[in-house]
Symmetry: D2
Subunit: 368 residues, 4 copies
């Protein structure tokens, strides 16, 4: 794993600055013979696309992915899948004032100090625009996972102080994308939406929480002790811009419970299978999936780019107040839902592949 | 990064089952010419050692590390540092009853299903005993970091429902190891201790939270976009047994705030340096350290091994109730403090090395 | 290191099939602040370009590289450098007859069996066209190395049975690209050229040897025991199409000598430096560069695509004789010179970076 | 892949200096459920062991491997296999004179310059003693490969100027270990032996060539374009001490042939399989195994440690002549045969595992 690459068996390498020529990536190690549904990939990109509603930034991009290699006659070749998404609607001059200053709670200062140079336009590579490549990869991962009926559903479970009180088991996760907020609980979604619009009017921003559920994971995914399934999932999720916390299963709330009250007792399941009667563990025990739903919660900070006077520090050490420019999201959560799903799908697919070499028995079957 | 290896430039590979011959590890890529203080390493191991007080398991191990290579005349050679810690006080027969059964919320079932075989004695490799190797590596990492005055201090900030309300900035983190609980706030520690002893009498267990602070990090550590500093830290922390949640900076609590209230404004610092006036970001912005304190919170579940009747599922699908055996911690938090520090020190040292190749300028200086 | 990625600190990931949309790559970990000379990169590509003379295939491609990221205001950003080279002059229909057959000594059969699918057009990804991406990366590596005055010069030292008898130390390696054959010894070049033209007329092909010399390497590059400098160089060179042998220093000829006759005795060199009086070792001892010239020889087979009746095996097991189509090189050596240089430059740059973290002393200087 | 680790799916990490406490290694990613024959591993070590005859160094070591983890009830657990081989018969004082001097054609100078420190005793980690760990790993790899009937046989095919003229196809490779020289052609072996004894009397050394044959490889091993099967094999072989050249198939000799004369034409093989009528390619085409024998040749230099007056350079720049001490091999080839086999077996096993994830079809079978 390296700075711009994620994955063990399948590896996604991304590139691109927000206002450069293009974003893109290379997917290496993706198995051959998988039918690729390009329309579905474009639909996934549409879920992340800016300019979808007033809730999100008004930057309009086509975000059309061009595949350059690795797919032949609509199937994967086993060779690396190179792809690009051109950057089109760039108002780079909006960022001229930012060339020599560091915004608060942004990546300007740290990147400048680290590299001695930075592309200041739209945040350069520190922009969440980079995640467009992850959505392409995640869409392909989902297409792989569907051969095992493994599904990945994320949704906005909190915006600011408005949380969805209904547990995921009582929600219809297929409805998530039916509203702008991407919360499948309609009345909560309306309240969230109202709050986001309020924040937008104030030029302010809101954070929140995205919950992600993986269903139908086989037992046995995850490689202890340093590639435990939840450790790899957390690593992938913390790589998304603005994420400040990740929980698995009962998460931080379990820290207040007694051990006797949070045991996931076993019961008989289907043939050759046992089940847990509860799921405090969140589908992972000892770093390995146990076949139950995998349950993750991801906390996003309110993004730091406001439509309010901007207190910056110049590179020569002066405190300056600028008028805000550029277009920004009052709340990134709705667009981040598909990004969370993408990262989770990617990790699941990677581990599904990796587990193929766990035992002599599995190897022998693969080589039959 | 692979299942038993962690790190990019310095790589720790661990091995060992709880009741096998020995635990151990190999550290590769550790720079040459570093004076090694073996006594300090042994002291670090003592902080993790079981049998220290009634608060922790009564298993007694010497946990003496034997270095096999990589150190010559008390300095690192630049060659791999191999080491072992023998397993001594093994009451393996205590575990005979567990050979064919799966305990709730343990790794028994998932490991058996994944590998088709497992060492059932003391949890085998899923045991937290594996972390003994991490403490050795962490101690070496600390010895590297001290050349930059970078310190890593963790402490128990919550046990069950008892939290330390005083912020870390008002605590004397040098006092953490002065009490059994490893909470530097004495009155809170006493309350935690009382609760742990209560749980022990009930044969129950408690979880909690460990807070970890890194001071004096240089600006510029972390490699976006997939090896962001906090993503690598979270990955390392989620690899510790029983961890269910990780936060950076304000963590989940920031999700409820408005963006305008959590900006870390810049102010002039020392020469050539700027500072933030607040630290909601937790010392990392855009995945790269900004020179402020790095602040992490790690949530541990109450461990699942109780001293109460044990409801297990046999491999043939029968529900059985066993009498508990073996020795276990009512609360792992105190022993986990040094493990958290070790993982964090490891990641920091790794990124300190990695950043040496960030720029042509840094390269040129290294080759002077 | 993975199937489509090469390098430890700097990593090149390539993608692309010969007759797909584009070839390309991503370079990750390349240091920031390096001025990029795009014209030089294009010149390097020109050295590899087909259609340069009658000696090489008549396929004409512009082979213009488009950089998509990682370079800003003509300097590297420290972010990944994404680039593509479009495929333009594709006569894919020339390859229709090859869809269901396996050519002798080609990759058709092995790729089909491995992946169950292949892009048969122009060899797909098994085509040497993939190396276009390596030349881009190699050119950037050369631009990095020039800050240390490290140079990489390759030349054709044998074509078929015609070898250049003059040792490299007596050749002017700056003249290599002055003739079509890329042998700096003019009379040998003429003889080679005559033989290649003869082979072309016969529809046959010739192999040969490329010698590569690295000058001004610092002492200390290479990471024993599995990333020895020559092991990494050999790995990179064997990855080039048609390579069947690699030697370092005296290579296979040293196997016939007595140890007493091939010792590289030490003599005093410049201040703080010692030199060898001979260079049987080829500049590398114990896997680490010793500061002398690094000397490599790379053996290429005569390529298997002839302009002669083509005996193929159909996928249904029939032996068929086809009329040859497509355009092919009678001798790939001249075009491969820059590819060899590129791979060697890449490995050298990677190890130059890696060595920055060898010692505490180097680290401290980097962080000054 | 990193400095002390080799392998993609299975990873061997080694440690140890020649005169330190122990050599050892960790094998990670080895599949679970493989019966381990420890006696066979010890037999493999015996083939490498010094002191076997007058042909090799008189240093006597027990070289008994102790497994510390990863094996339970004689089967692999899927967890890392840690092992050590203690260093016993160390006459470290023999090396005192070498502490401040650099021997010609040794690793003394380069390691000292790289790391600023070195363990001068017996060559430290640059000693071929490190390969003891590779033989342990290779033996396990062979035990994995035998489930597919894949065999790896190496033998000494040349010592100095004495080459074995009989092709491998006419030799009985099972007889290799029946003589001290490890050349299965008895009369050639006698001649080699005479030459080695002659060299020993002169205090001189001889190099030579080891040929290695892999039989019964499945079609489809190797991952283009940077982990081509022969590139990975060459990388592993160049990592063995004293190796100066590696060839695949016809190797350098093919560079002198015309393409029309070295085509490996296809013929029908067994059901669902095609064969080549010749094997110039050496069993690998396009970087992927084609099912034919894999044929490798590895050139070893005569080792540089002679029993003759030793011209060294002191660290202060003086030329000194020392009396030789220590025990050394007049010819390392016989002991290196099992090392070559080990590295080749390791790479083959690694790629056998890796290929399990090549296609959706293989994945589906593994998960059946």
């Amino acid at each position: 794993m390296h700075s711009n690459t994620i994955g063990h068996i399948i590896q996604l390498t991304t590139f691109g600055e927000s206002h450069g020529s293009a974003m893109g990536g290379v997917i290496s190690g993706f198995p051959a013979g998988i039918a690729v549904d390009k329309a579905m990939i474009q639909q996934e990109l549409a879920k992340r696309k800016p300019g979808q509603s007033l809730l999100t930034t008004q930057r309009k991009e086509e975000d059309e992915v061009e595949f350059l290699s690795g797919i032949f006659e609509a199937k994967t070749l086993g060779t690396p899948i190179g792809f690009i998404v051109r950057n089109q609607d760039q108002k780079s001059q909006d960022y001229d004032a930012l060339k020599e200053v560091f915004r608060p709670s942004h990546a300007d200062y740290t990147w400048q100090k680290k590299f001695g140079i930075r592309d200041h336009r739209g945040g350069g590579r520190s922009s969440a625009r980079e995640t467009v490549s992850r959505v392409v990869a995640g869409a392909l991962a989902k297409q792989l996972l569907q051969h095992w009926n493994i599904t990945v559903h994320a949704y906005v479970s909190a915006v600011g102080t408005v949380g969805c009180e209904v547990p995921y088991t009582e929600l219809d996760l297929e409805k998530t994308y039916e509203n702008d907020v991407r919360c499948p609980h309609e009345s909560t979604a309306l309240q969230m939406k109202a709050n986001i619009e309020e924040a937008r009017k104030q030029g302010d921003t809101l954070g929140g929480i995205i919950t992600c559920i993986v269903k139908n994971s086989p037992v046995g995914l995850g490689q202890p002790v340093f590639a435990k399934l939840h450790a790899d999932l957390a690593h992938a999720l913390f790589g998304i811009n603005a994420v400040k916390g990740v929980e698995i299963g009962d998460g931080f709330s379990i820290t207040e419970k007694k051990g006797s009250t949070v045991k996931d007792l076993w019961s008989k399941g289907d043939v050759g299978r046992i089940k847990t009667t509860t799921n405090h563990s969140g589908g992972i025990q000892g770093g390995i999936s146990n076949g139950e739903d995998i349950v993750l919660r991801v906390g996003f900070k309110p993004v730091s780019t406001l439509q309010q006077p901007l207190e910056v520090m110049s590179s020569s050490g002066e405190e300056i107040i600028l008028t805000p420019k550029g277009r920004h999201d009052p709340c990134v959560l709705p667009r981040a839902v598909v990004i969370v799903e993408s990262m989770v799908a990617w990790v699941m697919a990677d581990h599904l592949l990796w587990a193929c070499t766990d035992t002599l028995d599995k190897m022998k079957k693969a080589w039959l």
